[in-house]
């Protein structure tokens, strides 16, 4: 990647690459999947626990934002939405179909596919480097194939949530590493 492309890409995708801020949320979703009550709470505490956990994850995301602002800086940029018609067609089509199946035939099997299409949007953004395309394609493929495998073998469908969250967790880390590789340490760059 040449310097002009790197600088433009980093500036335009700075916030998008800060996925590490959502890390506790995915860890929480992975942790609660083996059972509905992983910390063996009883009474009102059991009902309040998810809100506290999600609240804490939100707090972490906010604190992460503050950290990034102080350490790497702040910029005012517009959020980039995928412009590909294929993406929007797939996204809306799969979501409508998944919702239709949930409401009319009480079948939840299409929801993981629809959700996967939501987060593989970087695949349809031409500005992304080949590496980011590759790991998003791999992640999408992993979730799609495991969802299909679970449906064919009639296994417990809840495992797909764990797979999704683990994959999203890995993507957060990969995005963070990409962000770090795009930033130049002060004093090492074009210090003319």
């Amino acid at each position: 990647m040449d310097d002009r492309t790197r600088l433009t890409y980093l500036t335009r995708h700075y916030y998008e690459l800060q996925g590490i801020r959502t890390l506790p949320l995915w860890i929480y979703f992975v942790a609660i999947q083996p059972g509905d009550n992983p910390v063996h709470l009883k009474g009102p505490a059991q009902a309040v626990f998810p809100f506290i956990a999600v609240g804490l994850a939100g707090l972490f995301a906010w604190l992460g934002g503050q950290y990034f602002r102080r350490r790497f800086g702040w910029l005012d940029s517009t959020w980039i939405f995928p412009k590909s018609r294929i993406y929007w067609g797939l996204y809306l089509g799969s979501f409508i179909w998944a919702m239709y199946c949930i409401f009319f035939s009480h079948f939840h099997g299409f929801f993981p596919y629809a959700f996967t299409i939501v987060w593989i949007s970087p695949l349809f953004d031409k500005e992304n480097p080949v590496l980011r395309h590759a790991y998003f394609a791999l992640a999408g493929l992993a979730v799609f194939s495991s969802a299909m495998f679970l449906q064919i073998t009639h296994s417990d469908g809840r495992i797909i949530i764990v797979i999704q969250c683990v994959v999203l967790l890995a993507l957060c880390i990969a995005d963070h590493l990409l962000l770090m590789s795009l930033c130049t340490p002060p004093g090492d760059g074009a210090d003319a």
Binding site: C183, G187, D191
Partner: protein, 123 residues
């Protein structure tokens, strides 16, 4: 000797400097950026970045806004409309130079290969 000078289009010297070009490239991709982000992206030292920003502001390519936030000054830099136009013009000039260079290289290459062929047939 002016006759021997290559006939390339003139390049804006203020923009052509690598550090300033890097700053302008970042600013052209967003509405505004703060000092820390410019440092992160370009890798320039504080002193150098400060000097380059002043130079760009003097040339009217950027506008600098300083706000006091929690006892600290936050410097935000924006690309001016003139800066945007001049940066575009700069990239167009560079493209023209590249095209001219490529055309000249093609001519030289054709001439050299013709000479080589002639030599080979003479032998």
């Amino acid at each position: 000797m002016p006759e021997n000078q290559p006939n390339f289009p003139k390049v804006d010297r203020v923009i052509h400097e690598p550090a300033r070009l890097a700053i302008l490239t970042v600013l052209s991709a967003c509405s505004s950026a703060d000092f820390t982000f410019l440092q992160t992206a370009t890798g320039l030292s504080k002193g150098n970045l400060s000097v380059q920003l002043t130079r760009l502001e003097e040339a009217g390519l950027t506008s600098i806004d300083r706000v006091l936030e929690r006892k600290k000054t936050r410097t935000t830099v924006k690309l001016s409309s003139a800066g945007g136009i001049q940066l575009n013009e700069y990239w167009n000039t560079m493209k023209r130079i590249q095209e001219q260079g490529a055309a000249r290289l093609d001519k030289d290459f054709a001439r050299t290969s013709l000479n080589l062929k002639k030599r080979a047939t003479d032998r």
